[in-house]
Symmetry: C2
Subunit: 340 residues, 2 copies
């Protein structure tokens, strides 16, 4: 068998989601994987990852091809271009560095070789890349994995890795070019045989569909300080908050992107979340840890797009404004703003 | 000088507001004051109140005429009717005992002698009394005092006791009868010469005016976990939340009660609250202490009344639903609801 020319993949932000992506791409054998780490670098560099995965089993000391601290500066370090940069960080676009600023050193200008894969939630995350790197294909990754990093470098994945990959509609790059990259990435990602990774031609539909959960359960649970199971039992949780918010997202999906979600999508999404799991959505977890929340792409962008398209979104509006205040509190706690 | 026939006054809930009311009525000399205590009974019974008051100075060991545990049961104890029952508890109408249930033992039926004085915030607090005690005059007390009980039995009053007293418009009792009681109570309360207590013929206006602050700063600060000074600095605090919420209350006041608040009431109320005080509204304090919040009369009643009168109140609606969820959390923490 001839040696396969592996694709070079840089995974940025290899925490709970990114570490499984790195592992899966590595196991598939079609990619040479570099992980660029920040907070968990020391642990992973010394001991490798400890992974308990429903897809991959238990691994101690897993290391992809390269473990490095921070984003490589290709020009300064004289490194070749990566074929794929998979971004698994939170998308916190109201703070520096933005995702674009973060990965810029690994993405020299006028780059047609590298493909960006944004494995992040929310709307309009591709827009900054379209402006700064108009030659670069940007793929959407909508992940339905259940995974956590309870301690640094230890990854517990308890729900299967399901991933929808597609190309964001691009103003100048042709669909067939972008779609070919998406299909190639699906091939790399599926090579392990352990995941459910699919090409999706309906990126915007996938994203709006996921927002039905993410733009609603995330902020409501975070703001009210209640897990998603209890929220379904609490006075006003479903009828007063979740259902009105979800209906606003469904209406915005139609008005903004002509996306027709299923008639029963609201009840289906509510039912997806098992009552007895008492799961805390990621935004609630982030808030409890004192971390910033990714509210601009999850709530702000759908709200702005929907409002501009004439959809009344009063519930999302108030949740968004409360999230802004809460983010400001975290900024104060981190010393980014000061009070007199 | 002939001996004055003192009026008998029962003060219920003699914490930060009630203790100052009891002290002030006692000092005035026209009332024989009984305080009915719960949580701070042991301390006050043994040592009296320790009071640091901008109106009354510093007092150690203050006791009104009678200090008793719990509400007197007049029939069972063979006690005479009180002339006034001054209620200073929080109004948490979604939980038992309600204010009505609480004071019922001190208020036998068909009572024309006793006057109820509700020194509580919010809307429609008088309604349960109108139904259960249709012969009884109910007065409204709108207090602008600044007072706290940092430890049990220790009262720190740092803003003057300003009190507006008037009669709630009653379906059957004549205005002149009710107003005479209100004016008499103002006389009792003003006798100390240390407070600014006024008769007000515009009870509903007073209540809606106070709601401009209370229905807005209270839930927003409580829900977002931010004091009122910081809220004014935070992204979205004023323009995204406070101003929209206040405008909804102003519109509801007009539609529900034909109350015309001043054109600049929103900015005036915002400016009233000194920026550098970093004060936490009472609802935020209650939440931080793990206490129930009085959201039904502060938010729910104005919201229901306004919505019924056709006023769009989207901001108050979401704040109300979040407050319901938060109250449910406290119920769970107190064992009043259980999850499977």
């Amino acid at each position: 068998m001839a040696e396969i020319q592996k694709k070079s993949v840089l995974v940025i932000g290899a925490g709970s989601v990114g570490a499984i992506a790195a592992l899966n791409l590595h196991v598939g054998g079609l990619a040479s994987v570099t992980v660029a780490l920040r907070s968990n670098y020391d642990v992973v560099n010394e001991q490798g990852y400890t992974i308990e995965s429903c897809d991959h089993g238990t691994l101690k000391g897993f290391r992809p091809s390269v473990v490095r601290k921070g984003i490589p500066d290709l020009v300064a370090e004289g490194l070749p271009l990566y074929d794929y940069i998979v971004v698994c960080t939170k998308s916190i676009s109201d703070l520096s560095p933005t995702t674009l600023e973060l990965i810029n050193p690994a993405l020299p200008e006028d780059n047609t070789q590298t493909t960006i894969v944004l494995l992040q939630n929310g709307l309009n995350i591709e827009k900054p890349f379209f402006e700064a790197h108009p030659q670069t294909v940007v793929l959407s990754g909508v992940s339905l994995i259940g995974s956590a990093e309870p301690t640094s470098g230890r990854i517990v994945q308890n729900e299967p890795d399901r991933l929808l990959i597609g190309a964001f509609p691009h103003p100048t790059i042709k669909d067939e070019v972008a779609n070919a990259r998406a299909r190639e990435f699906v091939t790399l990602y599926s090579a392990s045989g352990k995941t459910d990774c699919k090409f999706s031609p309906e990126v915007l539909r996938d994203r709006w569909r996921k927002l039905v959960y993410n733009a609603c359960f995330n902020p409501i649970c975070a703001i009210a300080g209640i897990d998603s199971g209890r929220l379904r039992l609490a006075d006003g949780g479903l009828d007063g908050l979740i259902r009105p918010a979800m209906k606003e997202i469904v209406a915005a999906a139609k008005a903004v992107a002509n996306v027709d979600l299923e008639d029963d999508v609201v009840e289906k999404v509510i039912a997806t979340d098992p009552l007895e799991s008492w799961a805390k959505p990621s935004m609630q977890q982030d808030l409890e840890k004192g971390n910033f929340i990714e509210f601009e792409n999850l709530i702000g962008e759908p709200l702005r797009a929907g409002s501009q398209a004439g959809v009344p979104m009063p519930t999302l509006e108030v949740l968004y404004q409360l999230a802004r205040v809460i983010q400001w509190r975290t900024k104060e706690a981190r010393g980014l703003v000061t009070v007199p």
